[in-house]
Symmetry: C2
């Protein structure tokens, strides 16, 4: 509930309307496993709400990003994926170029060094993406 509530807050704050669709999309998205494309979320939601339009998914995902509840990613296959911003818990990705596996990791020291770099450049960081591409444990056999 906490999360869906946050979207509600954002909508009210901006004078936008709280609709069933937005609530349902936020709910499903925030409770989901990570890295969903608009299309994937659409299919997921259609199980319970066959009348839901794909446009609304796109629109609501954009709202979730604006509200800071989702982050948008492009992993290079031409499809934009979204991932819930889990209560500030940031993480980065190892991406297997062979099997497509996505492994998450977290490293505090790297985060700190990033802040340092930003400061040295008089840059205010809002968000960052760190992605390591290569072969995962299974695919290491060239």
């Amino acid at each position: 509930m906490g999360k869906a509530g946050t979207l509600r807050d954002y909508l009210r704050h901006r004078g936008l309307k709280v609709t069933h669709q937005r609530e349902e999309i936020a709910q499903t998205f925030l409770d989901s496993t990570r890295h969903l494309s608009a299309e994937e979320l659409y299919r997921l939601i259609q199980k319970g709400h066959p009348e839901m339009g794909l446009s609304t998914i796109y629109r609501t995902l954009k709202l979730l990003v604006e509200a800071g509840l989702a982050s948008q990613r492009e992993f290079g296959d031409g499809i934009t994926r979204y991932e819930p911003v889990a209560g500030g818990r940031h993480h980065d990705h190892l991406i297997c170029v062979n099997c497509g596996a996505i492994i998450e990791f977290q490293n505090q020291k790297i985060e700190e060094l990033q802040k340092e770099v930003a400061e040295n450049n008089n840059f205010t960081v809002l968000q960052h993406k760190l992605e390591l591409y290569g072969y995962c444990e299974k695919c290491r056999r060239h």
Copy 2:
């Protein structure tokens, strides 16, 4: 010459043909300033070669990536950009979400920590991307 020569080597190695177009595209691309989109490179090349087709630009950029001479980037505006891989000199990016400015930086410590992370996950890194999004010096006035 050195760089265009390398594409030639790659083509021969793969049994592909060395064409005027490929030579010209590689030349112009590798000598260019950074972060070119296919369209931008197209316009650039058309000045001297009005007959060059856009498809060929796309195809050759793909070859350059395969040959390890270009790296492909998506900064979130829906346009794929390519950048010459300058003799192994790696760098990352600060991207201003307001004015679109792209500032390059380099940090050896971060690189090392990335290697560490990869090792801990039994992951072989081929390539990585680190992008910090936010406000540049000029755009810091919210």
